[in-house]
Amino acid sequence: MRLNVACMFAGLIFSGLTLTVQAQEKSIFIQSTTSTANSGLYDHLLPKFEAASGIKAHVVAVGTGQAIRNARNCDGDVLLVHAKAAEEAFVASGYGVKRFDLMYNDFVIVGPQADPAKISGVAEVGTALKQIADSGAPFASRGDDSGTHKKELALWKAAGIDPEPASGSWYRATGSGMGATLNVAVGMGAYALTDRATWLNFKNKSDFKILTEGDAALFNQYGVMLVNPAKCPDVKAEHGQAFIDWLLSPAGQSHIAGHTVGGQQLFFPNAK
């Protein structure tokens, strides 16, 4: 008898919950890297896209690795990230329809004014990383399988250094987002690799500044792709593709170029 009452309650609650399932509006979900969201790019683009198309785009901003995993679980209609090899693997495995180059900017190494590894003005990023490793100055890594983390690992590899054995001493993997990692770096006076957009928007810079920039190896390409409706039947293919087409169109590309922070352009459109 008592159990029946409890069951009745559970049933009531459940039916109440299912009633709240709302009618779906004309909308899409974008699984996105954080830099595009945190730099205000979507705040700049999405109202223009909505005005042009009537489609509302919702942005879930997480690291590239997590964005790709979420998209693999079909929890998004469009994927916008920056790790070309992982994106191509995503498409090759059938989860993405087709990957498009969208825009680029670059990575920079930031560090404290004191610059204990003396990397300021070093043109080659490999040399800068070697000097950091040799000096034993702290380096804060994302350590979260994000696009920036993948880039950082590739740069260490190209420099012929394996930072993993130093993990916990001078090499500190935060396992967090870019902003959180920059907060940690500023807190412990550590060097860090960051995309330029996030850095320009970051407000807790303290005495940190850009020390290494301009090496071609620091190129940062963003890609966009539709999650494949063949794998994920719930994908809003029509609306998602409309968003991608708009981003790649002359109008979308010029709006990307038009997004500035403090007079500086953050992303450079390069759709083909």
Binding site: V5, M178, G179, V186, F202, N204, K205
Partner: protein
């Protein structure tokens, strides 16, 4: 600065505060509807395995929000068993996660309070031959002031947690952004003063809800006991 923010009543901030309250208060309501009867049932009846259930209920009070978020995500994901409901990245998903998080708190704490009361009342109940449903109703009613504190503990947990809502809500602007996820976002942008100001606003909200509960309790007990 926090009060400056509140005074200017920025529309976005109001939306975020509104959603925080809507999500957490709805989760609290559902948790009380489940947790209070459950607590009362366990408090009043004796059965095999009861001790194990008590330990389990108490242990579940320590459910890590991020684990709850992950489990709810796996169920609600479009590739999960409940994906067809299309609830992921909606306020409803956040309510579900917070309900799972705080129902054990409501059930375990109310169980303790009601069991203590039941010991006091049980002889009277037996002598008057009170049916069990009336027994539970009487306990819940007589314990209502203490149970309100239990509800406030649940509310405190739900309004303050970030781990679950950020996973199942996605911190989407104008859709699922609440106070805690907004604070996490501003912290990640390095805007520590704004993050701190939002934190103070959250504290003020918690204070206001608790003050309201206190006033209601005072008024109610004045009415009840003269």
């Amino acid at each position: 600065m926090a009060f400056g923010l509140l005074a200017t009543a920025d529309a976005d901030l109001m939306e975020i505060i509104g959603l925080s309250l809507r999500v957490s208060l709805t989760a609290l309501l559902i948790s009380c509807l489940i947790g209070l009867p459950l607590g009362a049932l366990v408090a009043t009846c004796r059965f095999r395995g009861r001790s194990a259930l008590l330990v389990l209920m108490n242990a579940l009070m320590g459910l890590p929000p991020v684990v709850v978020g992950l489990i709810v995500y796996l169920y609600l994901s479009r590739s999960g068993p409940l994906g067809w409901m299309q609830l992921l990245y909606t306020p409803t998903a956040m309510i579900i996660a917070q309900t799972i998080l705080i129902t054990p708190i409501i059930a375990a704490l109310s169980r303790q309070i009601l069991e203590d009361m039941h010991e006091e009342y049980s002889e009277q109940f037996r002598s008057m031959n009170v049916p069990w449903r009336a027994e539970i109703a009487a306990l819940l009613w007589d314990g209502r002031f203490s149970l309100m504190t239990v509800a406030l503990a649940g509310f405190g947990r739900s309004i303050a947690e970030v781990g679950a809502v950020i996973i199942v809500g996605g911190n989407i602007d104008h859709l699922t952004r609440v106070m805690t996820t907004a604070i996490a976002l501003e912290t990640s942008k390095g805007d520590l003063p704004l993050a701190l100001a939002l934190g103070l606003v959250l504290l003020v909200i918690a204070l206001a809800v608790n003050a309201l509960a206190f006033v209601m309790r005072q008024a109610a007990s004045k009415f009840a006991y003269g």
